[in-house]
Symmetry: C2
Subunit: 343 residues, 2 copies
């Protein structure tokens, strides 16, 4: 495992490291190095299969051409797809991506942020799960380039973020149910509810049922604890539907809760859409395949990724001069399928 270094190829050619470095970085012409010499360098490089040591390069340059992505849960298809999209975008700009998963844990996310900064990534894209936003504030204070996706912090002004309009999306979905005659509409949301995405989705729901003049009893809104989705969903499904025949429609706040919901409904032999109508946030390939297929509020991952990376690149190249931060709201898509019944 004898690594070949810049020096090896320089001495073997009888020139200096400087020259080789210049040529390899495309500054050959700029420094007036003979075409002939340049070609020879390239040839040697290829022959010896020389690969610059990126660590040494990073140390010298103070940048790594790598950006970090922290998602809440990589085993969730939504984030996995996003990760792949973002990776592709980064590659277009010549950047590599390091993907990490915080598993919705505050401490892990904070430590990942530190770890990635220590590894000298040039910027960060984060779907944050943090209650304690110290690390975010710190990055902001240090002018460290970062973009939030999916979730943001209203209490920290002037940060870059890319999100969908959760409020409107939620409102629209619930309004659709109301327009189809539903009066007792439950929402299975998640707790802790400090995430803006969740808060906005909740608010959209509440405003829609108020405005729609339908049942606004607070028991219709359920908070599922993140650590115990399956059991809790089952509890609420049993309570809301089995013992309370009134509820005819459910909005779930994300795909994991939707899946748990499907499982419980199946267990209790409650039929969709005959007994209950269902709409969920986040689209999964399989939602289309189920019988009935599931109506979803789908997020444009490509747009989110493209915007996030483009903002980050801008941020990186104008680190200290870029004053205005981008706060982008991309449209969500209401994907109507078979899981809702008209009453």
């Amino acid at each position: 495992m004898k690594k070949v270094r810049l020096e090896d190829i320089a001495t073997k050619m009888g020139v200096s490291k400087t020259l080789v470095s210049m040529v390899l970085n495309g500054y050959g012409d700029k420094n007036g190095i003979k075409k002939e010499t340049q070609e020879k360098v390239i040839a040697f490089t290829r022959e010896l299969n020389y690969k610059p040591n990126q660590v040494a390069r990073s140390l010298r340059l103070g940048r790594s051409n790598t950006i970090g992505l922290i998602v809440a849960d990589i085993s969730n298809a939504f984030y996995a797809k996003m990760a792949r999209n973002i990776e592709d975008e980064c590659n277009k700009y010549g950047y590599n991506l390091i993907i990490c998963s915080s598993d919705e844990k505050d401490a892990k996310e904070a430590s990942l942020i530190r770890m990635l900064k220590d590894k000298q990534v040039d910027g960060l894209i984060i779907s944050s799960t943090l209650v304690d936003n110290t690390e975010i504030k710190l990055m902001k204070h240090d002018n460290f380039p970062f973009v939030l996706v999916d979730r943001y912090f209203p209490e920290i002004p002037d940060t870059n973020y890319v999100v969908i309009d959760n409020y409107k999306s939620s409102f629209k979905a619930v309004k659709y149910l109301i327009d189809n005659g539903h009066v007792n509409i439950a929402m299975l949301s998640i707790s802790p509810p400090h995430l803006t995405s969740v808060k906005d989705r909740n608010k959209g729901y509440f405003d829609a049922i108020k405005k729609g003049n339908v049942n606004t009893d607070h028991y219709l809104h359920c908070q599922i604890p993140f650590e115990d989705i399956e059991q809790s969903v089952e509890f609420y499904i049993e309570k809301l539907i089995k013992y309370n025949q009134k509820v005819t429609a459910i909005l779930t706040v994300n795909q994991n809760i939707a899946l748990a919901c499907l499982k419980s409904l199946k267990k209790f032999k409650i039929r969709i859409p005959e007994d209950i109508s269902l709409i969920t946030f986040d689209d999964l390939p399989v939602f289309e395949l189920l019988s009935p297929s599931i109506t979803t509020i789908s997020q444009p991952l490509d747009l989110i990724s493209k915007n996030a990376v483009s903002i980050l690149m801008d941020e990186i190249s104008h680190k200290n001069t870029r004053k205005a931060k981008d706060q982008i709201v991309v449209p969500s898509y209401f994907q109507l399928r078979e899981s809702c019944k008209q009453l």
Copy 2:
């Protein structure tokens, strides 16, 4: 964004960098540095919020405490879950994980391997998609630590790998169908078929139908091109089932084909298990939720991850002395559900 360096804290304290470095790396006692001094160093470090520059550290030490993972497709739930498992395992050993997705593309995988080596990762875990295995041979030749998962190269002897027994798993599934009276059993496999996992699954299928004395016509075995799964599956479903009423059971080689298969069956209004029985490789949470739920051959991701990381760690710490390579076959799990009918 003023970075605080080792030197800053050394001068501010009036000691040398060496001392600080020793203390911070836990060699304080070993070098007989006064408890008092050590505490002071720690205190200063914390106060100034000092974080060692990992890039400098990597350069100096020649290792990065980072390992790289290349999966065939991060947006595939199977690999996403595996990624998360492996990340957890790595963390236990104090290593960080960089996750990359080759998207089943030869060129991308090769370039990822190079990229990660350039970034000085200490080892690699790869679910390889390579036809051209030059990069693998190169790593082997260079004694670079790596472990293959999910797929391996029979033509390269003495490499570490962790896989399930694809042959047996496949054989068993088909035998189950035969035992339940099925005589015309199709397999939807994938092409190109150079991956060992696919080859072994195919062989298991063929041997089982031969031994079971059922229909062995070659048209029952279909090769779905990777780039065009949906259309191709639809084509075969139509051909095999709609126009050939004999086929009563299907084995699909992975979850993506299973999903496409479900989609087509739905489209043609072919019912599971009444009209057709289905078994697939790889388990998805949703397979349990479908009506009927889908019988699967499920891989023990936790075991695969644990073994792969543990082997890699061993490989890293005994880089040049470790002669024997580990070739681990972990058991798969036949998850019987409702998608198979007894004839």
